[in-house]
């Protein structure tokens, strides 16, 4: 494990290695997250990106937004591709280099789940960053296994009946050394976690909540506020899992009712009848309460 000094970890990085000119919607949380991650990782980094919104808006020929090496092939195989890059660097005695595999929730938790599980289990020295925008945004907001309970998508018009798949925990049970969650509003924390993750040898998993103005139904200027509210309503706990033990949980001293989060997003509008919350809202509050209990937020 490579050592990094506190001041290096805490330094905010702005290098524009994920540069202007991408085709993301205004206020895109994923574009923001991608730049924060790339800048934190630095120039000596290879980005392997899964098919998805990020890939589409950042890698059109001939003017992609990446300024670090970029490799994309398919939707469900980014973990394996990154594994291959890592294997090649080993075989050729090249490096050290940061290898980051990244994708949205679909390519991470659904179609790419087998691949990511394989990468974790084989112990490749790769950081996987999941930009979680809670649905298949690239194809027009269809439900994914990260779509939260109650959220409306084009394939769950009545609201999603199931709860969100808990990938950080699933990653952790693979026995990988570092797992963390983060949100775009706290860029210091996010960049710190990227750098910290890269100090660990082996597979790392960073789960970033990335608000999607289009899919969540909010104006672009609210992306940061909403991601913050996800934390403050305890719907998205922020923590690290280092060598299997949950740690550095971000406490939420001033907890807010989930309504404050839901109210800002059209995808939850149907949960309120004439402004009055329906039973589903109570259910969502229950999810928050369980997080509070589980992580002692």
């Amino acid at each position: 494990m490579m050592e990094l000094h506190e001041e290096d970890l805490n330094r905010v990085e702005k290098k524009n290695l994920f540069a202007s000119g991408h085709r993301a919607c205004g206020g895109c949380g994923q574009a923001l997250a991608a730049r924060l991650v790339a800048d934190a990782a630095g120039e000596n980094t290879i980005a392997c990106v899964a098919t998805g919104c990020l890939e589409i808006f950042s890698s059109p020929y001939p003017d992609p937004s990446w300024r670090i090496p970029f490799l994309h092939s398919l939707f469900e195989n980014v973990s394996a591709v990154a594994s291959g890059v890592e294997a090649a660097y080993k075989a050729m005695n090249k490096g050290p280099v940061n290898i980051i595999a990244m994708g949205g929730d679909g390519s991470t938790a659904d179609i790419g789940f087998q691949s990511i599980s394989g990468m974790f289990e084989r112990g490749h020295n790769v950081l996987y960053v999941c930009y979680d925008n809670e649905a298949y945004m690239n194809t027009g907001v269809q439900r994914s296994s990260f779509t939260p309970y109650g959220a409306k998508t084009t394939t769950t018009p009545m609201g999603n009946p199931t709860r969100k798949k808990n990938l950080p925990m699933l990653a952790a049970v693979h026995g990988i050394p570092y797992v963390a969650t983060a949100t775009v509003d706290d860029y210091r924390d996010l960049q710190r976690k990227v750098k910290k993750a890269l100090t660990f040898e082996g597979p790392k998993y960073l789960h970033v909540l990335a608000p999607c103005p289009l899919g969540w139904g909010h104006s672009g200027d609210l992306s940061v506020l909403i991601s913050r509210l996800a934390k403050d309503t305890c719907l998205f706990p922020v923590f690290e899992i280092i060598n299997g033990s949950v740690t550095n949980i971000q406490k939420v001293p001033h907890k807010k009712p989930v309504e404050e989060y839901l109210n800002l997003q059209a995808r939850f509008k149907h949960l309120f009848k004439k402004g009055e919350p329906t039973g589903m809202v109570a259910e969502i509050q229950e999810i928050a309460n369980q997080n509070i209990e589980r992580f002692n937020l």
Partner: protein, 551 residues
């Protein structure tokens, strides 16, 4: 020709970025806004500005220059101003307002200790000469600003020393004389000519000034103490508030005896009472109404009470009882309040048969002040105050006026503010163009801020020295902030309406359309790429960014 790589592989160092700026319908702009402190300051001091240099650079010299850009009396105002700025401060709705007044005092003192000199705005001296009548806060402020702008200014002062109310009306425990003296000297260093012991209208005819000078500013103040006109006022040991304060301030304190009664509820009354107390007397304040109606600054009243001055409300003097020509007591009647009168305050009405005598060795009538118009004739309002238009020009051509003489009884800061405005008006007048002071940008209120990014932190406040200590001397009762405390306090400033380098716009822009310009250290938008999503506007803590329609 050398071929491109196979399979659409691409050399990323050759990429020409696609310009997403064309997607924009709304456009973010960095626009400086007016902070509420400046807005509520009669002098419009750049409070945010001087606090920032303290917070960012701990640069007291720069802070002093920023303050004195508008106000030549920071050390003075830092002591005597009732600081409406702090009432405006947006932190009031968050935790507690900034200690702006104490900070100003420290910066002012720093300027004095380090003999900082004012900078002229215009180095060339202009041909026009301006006469300023009265060296009070209004007069000196006007002279100061005119001098900085290159005018030849001469100040005429009736008294033996300059300063007006600041020197003769304010006791030393509130404003040490040397502080005032040095701030005045700093002003004179700009080349302002001062002639004392000259009463315009008496020693020189008013018209001669108008003849000799291209413009005249009247900062006459309200120097005449007004009495209520009850029997016995002519007795020895009966003073108007101003007489009394002036006497003490020039070191000729009268023998006040054991019991002193002060009549009135204004600041002068408070000052008189507290001065008398320091002269060793038992002091009572007699007022017709209740504390609520008292015009004096709350702090003044509180301090007076701390200093164990007796307040007699609903009490009205009818007659000063004398033994030969010496005061022995004050006959008063109890009042009750009836429906409000013209002044909007409850109207006091005597209760029959409630007369009583308050024993007194000295009676001080702090019951109002008037302008001394001796030899100066111009239009008045309410038959008391000089009437001036919005540019502070009086009914007489080329003659401007400001301060108490125009405002009625107001604060030192208000007078300084008018001096400043008059200077601008005179400049404009002499240059023959209309009032040039720009309409200031909108004021930022708490609701406009994104307070998430600010931390709660209580303001620093200093305990006044204990009463028994205070009363032993005329020393100041509040110790100054030490430099560390000032910086700490300055750091609490929200910097309402002006960037304080929080980096939010830089870090949060999903399109990297915000750049830090190394040369200026300022941020600027890259409109080639900005999509106008408004994230920066939303996350700017201090409302420095505005979203405007793309034109």
């Amino acid at each position: 020709m050398d071929k491109l790589p196979l399979g659409l592989a691409l050399d990323l160092r050759r990429v020409v970025p696609y310009k997403t700026g064309s997607w924009r319908t709304m456009k973010p702009l960095y626009i400086m806004q007016t902070p509420p402190c400046t807005h509520s300051c009669p002098i419009n001091n750049d409070i945010r500005g001087f606090l920032r240099v303290l917070a960012d650079k701990q640069d007291y010299t720069e802070a002093w220059h920023i303050l004195t850009r508008t106000n030549p009396f920071p050390a003075t105002c830092g002591r005597v101003c009732p600081h409406p700025c702090e009432d405006g401060c947006n932190r009031r709705d968050f935790d507690t307002p900034l200690a702006i007044n104490s900070s100003e005092r420290s910066v002012g003192d720093y300027g004095l200790e380090h003999h900082l000199e004012h900078r002229k705005e215009v180095l060339a001296t202009r041909k026009e000469k301006v006469a300023v009548v009265g060296s009070g806060p209004a007069g000196l402020s006007c002279a100061f600003h005119l001098a900085k702008r290159g005018f030849a200014v001469k100040v005429f002062e009736a008294a033996r020393e300059p300063g007006g109310m600041m020197r003769y009306g304010i006791p030393a425990y509130r404003l040490p004389k040397d502080v005032l003296q040095r701030e005045i000297e700093a002003i004179l260093k700009l080349g302002v000519e001062l002639e004392c012991n000259v009463k315009v209208g008496v020693n020189i005819p008013f018209d001669q000034l108008r003849h000799d000078y291209q413009a005249v500013f009247l900062g006459l103040g309200a120097q005449k103490g007004a009495t209520v006109g009850i029997p016995g006022e002519d007795a020895r040991n009966v003073f108007t508030g101003l007489e009394f304060l002036k006497a003490v301030n020039i070191g000729k304190a009268p023998e006040v005896g054991r019991n002193v009664v002060v009549v009135g509820g204004g600041n002068t009354a408070m000052d008189c009472a507290r001065v008398a107390k320091r002269l060793g007397a038992d002091v009572q304040i007699v007022y017709r109404r209740t504390r609520v109606e008292m015009p004096a600054i709350t702090a003044e009243i509180d301090e007076a009470m701390e200093e164990r001055i007796m307040f007699r409300y609903h009490t009205n003097p009818i007659k000063i009882i004398t033994d030969e020509d010496k005061v022995v007591g004050l006959l008063c009647v109890q009042m009750e309040l009836k429906e409000a009168d013209a002044s909007g305050r409850a109207r006091p009405v005597p209760i029959p048969g409630s007369e009583s005598v308050i024993p007194a060795d000295t009676v001080i009538m702090a019951t109002g002040q008037e302008v001394d118009y001796d030899g100066i004739d111009l239009a008045k309002r309410e038959n008391r105050w000089i009437s001036a238009d919005e540019f502070l020009m009086t009914s007489v051509d080329r003659v401007f006026a400001g301060g108490d003489a125009v405002l009625g009884l107001e604060t030192v800061s208000a007078a300084i503010g008018q001096g400043l405005r008059a200077a601008t008006a005179i400049e404009d007048y002499l240059e023959g163009h209309v009032e040039s002071s720009l309409a200031s940008p909108p004021v930022v209120y708490f609701k406009d801020l994104n307070s998430y990014y600010y931390n709660r932190k209580k303001r620093i406040s200093k305990e006044a020295i204990p009463v028994h200590e205070r009363l032993k001397s005329f020393n100041e009762i509040y110790p100054p902030f030490d430099p560390g405390e000032i910086v700490q306090e300055a750091n609490r400033c929200f910097s309402c309406g002006l960037c304080f380098d929080c980096k939010n716009c830089l870090m949060y822009c999903p399109d990297n359309a915000v750049n830090l310009v190394p040369a200026t250290g300022r941020y600027e938008f890259d409109y080639d790429f900005c999509k106008g999503c408004g994230l920066c506007v939303r996350e700017c803590p201090c409302h420095y960014i505005q979203l405007t329609l793309e034109k």
